[in-house]
Homo-oligomer: 344 residues x 2
Amino acid sequence: MTLQRERVCIIGSGNWGTAVAKIIGENVTKHSQVFEPQVQQWVFEEDYQGKPLTQVINATHENPKYLPGIRLADNIHAEPDLVKACSDSTVLVFVLPHQFVRGVCDDLVGKVNPNVKAISLVKGLEIKPDGITLFSEEIGRRLQIEEVAALSGANIADEVAREQFCETTIGSRSEAHGQLFHQLFDTPYFRANVIRDYVGVELCGALKNVVAVAAGISDGLNYGSNTKAALIRLGLMEMRKFGQTFFGGVEDTTFFESCGVADLITTCAGGRNRKVAEAFARTGKPIDVLERELLNGQKLQGSLTAIEVYQFLSARKMTNEFPFFDAVYQILYQGAPLDTIVKL
Amino acid sequence: MTLQRERVCIIGSGNWGTAVAKIIGENVTKHSQVFEPQVQQWVFEEDYQGKPLTQVINATHENPKYLPGIRLADNIHAEPDLVKACSDSTVLVFVLPHQFVRGVCDDLVGKVNPNVKAISLVKGLEIKPDGITLFSEEIGRRLQIEEVAALSGANIADEVAREQFCETTIGSRSEAHGQLFHQLFDTPYFRANVIRDYVGVELCGALKNVVAVAAGISDGLNYGSNTKAALIRLGLMEMRKFGQTFFGGVEDTTFFESCGVADLITTCAGGRNRKVAEAFARTGKPIDVLERELLNGQKLQGSLTAIEVYQFLSARKMTNEFPFFDAVYQILYQGAPLDTIVKL
């Protein structure tokens, strides 16, 4: 084969980024006719027990700070210089906390291969009263990359790293890119389905957290499993309606994918959004107090998204059409009774 | 109004039949322009503490044997004579264990109103190698009733009786009948959605139990919530494929209803099918031994349906196309390793 092989760079090295690096390291070796053997991983440099983290990773093939005990393939090279890590790459995998996406993109403007392909594993959306930003599209706009794909699913990083079977969904408008990303991510224990509806993939990943808040309220009220299942279903239906109302291309079948129903089930069974909402229902303490007590002051994604969705709908006078999302907001922030959630 | 009002008879008086009687008793009063106030309930006569059960129900407005502590409306009249209960009725609600359906229908042949409307709340299907029988259709065939409807959902009888919020799905080909059944069943705490796809409603109610077996195996192997959610999703997809392959009219959206995704979530979270399968995975004891130990010798629905589905598929040389259902059968009855379920 004389075709140019793809050179992959992973941008990010937290818990999820490292779990993904493990998979990518193995898959580029498996598909050696498609990918160059060496993979760059941009790691935000920090100190780990007196040494730079990138040095530790490159020496031990493990990220002891964010995913201890999991060995990465030898072909993953941790690189502290973002531009150096990316400039020669033909495939970029964005797996960063969402607040860092813009800064990273700005640093890369004009520095990436003009035909680079990209995929976003960034969690969440940016919902403002005047519109919704998908991170795949934001990355594409800033770096002038067409058709940035997205990946989301019922994927708890630690379980994926321990090779516990699960699935994921890749949304890619381009079929060719979809196939490429399938080769990059799919393994027997991490099964990737490729669909075209990247918007649905990203929407599900954000809106599920609002549904998990409702599930937590149900648990906090000691409602039974009938009620909780009904709320999960109603939430799923409102996610679907939100997608159909504000994004024409969102498809019904997307909600059957791992990014839809499976991620929703996992998120409503365990997870911090459900847990903090249960504590809210049991104790009556405000969310910001619980964030301090239970999350060391970190913001809870579900309650934040509930506010953003409310403001977005409110700006369009459409809160009535989304009674489930509205109820979650009213309960969390407007003192509505907890059982409003079952009286839509 | 000079229109003839509907006279309702409930056929069955177990746990679920009694919970349903509570709802129907209240709804006929609420919709008094549509329904006659008095509701007949056929109760299989048995002794309750020295008295006939029907007498106890009519005196106390409670069924202390099958739903103790729940008061029924005064307009529910328990009747031990099946033909007497039904002969004057215009609406029949079948809510019996499936093994009694044929006998009851045979006793009613020629004895029911020729224009009677009927709905089946019978759980399960009859799957034989040569075909699948829906109980709605079986009732219709035996009693010459057109368009028998079906009702199923995430509805644990005790939770419904205690008025804990949940939803249910009514499948009715006839729109007019669908509206009538909506008035008969819908309450603020038991929300009924009417769809046309009665086949999908009944299929979901039976096949979910096979998926719950897989969920129980996952729990028994101590797999995490990612894996369990993936299995629930794969099971849902195979339920959908089964419906589409063998029943043309089954619709995608049916699986978004309470009878689909919500019932599946409840059944895979708790329930006896999940529990016995977990014990199977942990102890390695055969299913029939566990049925004796955990269910007083009652048959487990999920394992029974797994055999029936396997035989049905096998007769068509199609087990390969349903790897999830096949794996459940192979694990339960052919000694396949437990982790076959994640190696489809």
